[in-house]
């Protein structure tokens, strides 16, 4: 049966049984002037729901596949039904057949997820059973994970049990195994104790392919004006992959996730096979309009080599109903590029009227390369004017003297783009971008995607019914 016939059938059935149908479509059309290339990407999600039953599907278009994301473009189908499921619910039990996402504990053993910004989708295809009681939670899974080309290979089987023997205490155990691989299986145990003013979490994992334990632990303290978090990690041969080298797990990276783009120029990409370190963060709120955040993190290899280090501070001050600003600063050491980076940021919003706002951001980064001792600066400026809820205009510019100082012949030292976004007809959104955008990283939870320099036109549209 063809895809559109399936859709028609689903819609007819829906209308007959008076269930609820939701449709969401996300389109990205990109014209790369430099390469004379146009790319159309689309994700159409359709779900149907009625009481104890739910069904859904996702249809993806990559026409043609973006070569920066899919280097072996012939492996990916341009049009494909990539996600479909049926879900049945009875009291505290749930059975899913088809595609699904799942996570055990904090992701040290299993975390499958979708992040479209990263172009990551590691859904499993098979079945999932959940029981969620007051004192016990149980999950059983079986399925094959997709890689970025939507290929599936090894079967993964697993289970997770979490019990609550006492108030505030949770104890959990997980086990996972796959066929046809040297990375055969792993098990994990976790403990979580929660009080009003503090809580503690620890999880340890033992893989079958290496005789070492990996662990993650977190201690959190909460007081009236101060809150503190200390996290430690030790990941030793923890990466659990299928035969397409796609990871089933995604352990906590223990580096701060930054909102400001300049702070993502030198990110830390998680290496689950050889990493240990810590992160410490304090949040101080002396009064309602003021908040101070201080963060420090370090990551080493097991040989003792420092891989990443960051000191970060941020002040948020709401001056009055109209004006708010963020003052932030970071010192970052990144071993991948062997650079020290100092990054001050000033970011503020001014509410002109109840619906009109101006947003300004100035970001500077000074970088020193430890290998050749060269130094250079990057500047980024943003101006955004919005009239809620209908329209916003933004201009973003960036400058670097990196290539001038190194005497490298580069075509470009400045980048400038303009963007306009419209919201219309009950949350339908359209945004248009034209200009040039500097290369950079998009990172979520230690997983990063390199986005190359862009020159051209981009259209994004989100439709939802």
């Amino acid at each position: 049966m063809k895809i559109w016939q399936l859709v028609v059938l689903l819609l007819i059935l829906s209308s007959l049984t008076l269930g609820q149908v939701t449709f969401k479509n996300q389109t990205v059309y990109t014209n790369w002037q430099e390469y004379n290339r146009t790319i159309l990407e689309d994700w159409a999600d359709l779900t149907y729901q009625r009481d104890w039953f739910k069904a859904g599907l996702r249809y993806e278009i990559n026409h043609p596949p973006d070569p920066f994301i899919f280097p072996q473009d012939s492996l990916l189908k341009n049009y494909e039904l990539t996600f479909r499921y049926l879900q049945f619910r009875y009291k505290k039990m749930n059975l899913t057949v088809g595609n699904y996402y799942e996570m055990f504990g904090r992701g040290l053993t299993l975390r499958t997820y979708e992040d479209r910004n990263l172009r990551v989708d590691t859904n499993l295809e098979g079945f999932k059973f959940n029981y969620s009681g007051r004192r016990i939670k149980f999950k059983a899974i079986g399925g094959r994970m997709r890689d970025k080309y939507n290929r599936r290979k090894n079967w993964l089987w697993g289970g997770d049990v979490e019990v609550k023997p006492f108030r505030n205490t949770h104890i959990g155990v997980s086990y996972l195994t796959q066929n046809k691989s040297n990375l055969k299986s792993l098990w994990a145990a976790r403990f979580n104790y929660t009080r009003d003013l503090w809580d503690f979490y620890v999880e340890t994992v033992r893989p079958s392919w290496y005789s070492a334990f990996s662990y993650y632990a977190a201690l959190n303290l909460y007081f009236d004006k101060v809150a503190a978090t200390l996290e430690v990690k030790d990941y030793n041969h923890l990466s659990f992959q299928n035969n397409y080298q796609t990871e089933y797990n995604a352990a906590p990276s223990l580096t701060r996730e930054h909102e400001f783009s300049m702070l993502n120029r030198h990110p830390h990409a998680l290496n689950q096979n050889d990493e240990r370190g810590y992160q410490f963060e304090v949040t101080y709120t002396p009064s309602d309009p003021i908040q101070i955040v201080l963060n420090h993190s370090q990551t080493f290899t097991h040989a003792g080599e420092r891989f990443f280090e960051e000191f970060y501070g941020e002040l948020t001050h709401t001056v009055n109903e109209r004006l708010e600003y963020h003052l932030a600063g970071a010192w970052t050491f990144d071993f991948t590029t062997n650079t020290d980076n100092i990054t001050p940021i000033l970011d503020g919003t001014y509410n002109v009227t109840e619906r009109d706002q101006i947003h300004l951001s100035a970001q500077h980064q000074h970088t020193k390369n430890r290998t050749d001792l060269s130094e250079y600066d990057n500047e980024l400026g943003l101006i955004e004017i919005s009239h809620s809820p209908f329209v916003s205009f933004a201009v973003v510019g960036e400058y670097t003297n990196k290539y001038q100082l190194r005497n490298v012949q580069m075509k470009r030292h400045t980048w400038l783009y303009g963007m306009v976004s419209f919201t219309f007809w009950n949350n339908q959104q359209l945004s248009l971008l034209y200009g040039s955008r500097r290369e950079g990283f998009i990172c979520v939870g230690g997983i990063c995607r390199y986005e190359p320099e862009f020159q051209g036109f981009e259209l994004k549209m989100n439709v939802r019914f």
């Binding site: 609820q20 939701t22 909102e259 309602d288 916003s392 009950n426 949350n427 939802r464």
Partner: protein, 165 residues
């Protein structure tokens, strides 16, 4: 195949306005207790907002949502606000920290750490806000936050309460 792609939006036209079903929401709160939306539909209306600690616009939306709640409280209407954190489990501490340092927000804070519920209701960008009527039916959705978006929420709720009279 291409025909199907063209046909898809056309086929959906008769279904415009059909509600997103959030009524089956069952999520844990910060204490680990399960919150079932069906059992808490006793307010005049409910606003459900998906957010995360790393999302700046989400945090800017929160005072605006409190403003909406206060606006209707003065008019004798109880608007319940449910803020669902999509932070990963390891960021649970950050959610707690945030809630403790923002006690001025009279919200019900819930957790969706594996984003299973967000996926079910097709929330892929945050902040994402739903307005539900007193029966839990969705009457408005909005993605993103810019100053002034709360005026739209007020307008939607005023229209809804106006029709109730």
């Amino acid at each position: 195949m291409k025909k199907g792609i063209i046909l898809l939006p056309l086929l959906l036209l008769p279904f415009l306005g059909m509600a997103q079903n959030l009524k089956n929401m069952e999520l844990d709160n910060l204490k680990g207790d399960t919150f079932v939306l069906k059992d808490h539909l006793n307010a005049d209306a409910t606003i459900v907002s998906f957010w995360a600690t790393w999302c700046l616009p989400c945090q800017k939306e929160h005072p605006a949502l409190q403003q909406v709640k206060d606006f209707f409280k003065d008019k004798g209407k109880n608007v319940q606000i449910i803020a669902i954190s999509t932070d990963s489990p390891r960021s649970l501490a950050k959610v707690k920290k945030y809630v403790r340092s923002h006690r001025k927000y009279h919200f019900t804070f819930l957790l969706d750490p594996d984003r299973e519920f967000s996926q079910q209701v097709l929330v892929t960008e945050i902040p994402h806000t739903f307005v539900l009527d007193k029966n839990g039916k969705t009457i408005y959705t909005h993605t993103g936050y810019r100053k002034g978006d709360e005026q739209e929420l007020i307008k939607v709720l005023q229209d809804y309460f106006g029709k109730q009279k």
